[in-house]
Amino acid sequence: MSVELVGLAVLMFAVTYPARAIPLLVPRFEHLPPRALEYLRLVGPAVLGGIAATEVLIRQVPGGGFVLALSWEAVAVLACGAIVAWRRNLALGLLAAVVLIAVLRAAGIA
């Protein structure tokens, strides 16, 4: 059984734990400049949105270049985002995306 990725988990812990611990252990961390705190707050949606978009909209073409490619998978991901925005319910959004893709694939469309 492979354990190679345990090393990656440790490295991921090494960059995650400080963000969690420093504010609790360093006195008066909450007195950081407001703009620094605001920047930190905005990183999450920007990174996660970028990951989702590149995952379903970017395709590698023979020769090594990258192109923008619309697909049913992108529609399903968009539907998930819309449902979360509407109902604030991630589980419902995920279920809708999975069911949509499963149905489209069963029908030979996606």
């Binding site: 995650t16 609790l24 961390f29 949606p45 990174v47 990951i51 978009a53 399903a76 893709i101």
Partner: protein
Amino acid sequence: MTGIVASAAGFGVVFGLTARGAGFSLVEAVAFSTIVFAGASQFAAAGMIAAGFGWPAIVLLTGLVNARHALYGAALAPWLRAQPRSERAAMAHVLTDEAFALSLVHFRRLGFTDRRGYWIAAIGGVFIPWNLATLTGYLGGQAVPDPGLFGLDIVFPAAMAGLAVGLATGRREVVALGAGVVVALAVSLAIDPRVGVVAGGLLGPAFGLAVPRRDPDVPEADELPADPDAFARPDRSEDGMLP
């Protein structure tokens, strides 16, 4: 707390399935859920491993995705100030989105720090369900030979999109999200998706900060107060001591 437990368990099962699909061994999947214990970055890493990303890019993105935890610590720090340093260091490892939300609401409702409440929320409400569910999802995945057939391969990008939308609670977050997506796509087309995601994560927030607040005197939804003293402060701890 039942909703949080159900959410952690459901999402944990999906992570177990995703990890299995990405080629993790059982030990590796469990190691991610116990050592990293940060859902969004675990999903991101699983997808990036499956896509062939190198470790440096995954670690960098993990740092970016989890940077928001610093805000949770900053908001809870005034409440936990009286706890022993070693206990606060341990509390930090289980400080997730859910643990933060549950404990802050709980402390504010009580008006004092309930350290047992924190541990119950963080360990009982999230850590244990998340890890048991990871195990269940991974082992249950043996019965699903082709996750793509059931649409399960869409879970990772859909979860990323859903989490991003869930965090976009104000105008600035929405602009940061939109800019992060546009920058990530543009840089991906010009260079590489690995570089694109990092560029979007770094530049997106800058666009968000450029958006003027609707009314400077009225905080946006979910906004940390500019004046740290405006954090709700506990009047006393559970044992009656001032923090």
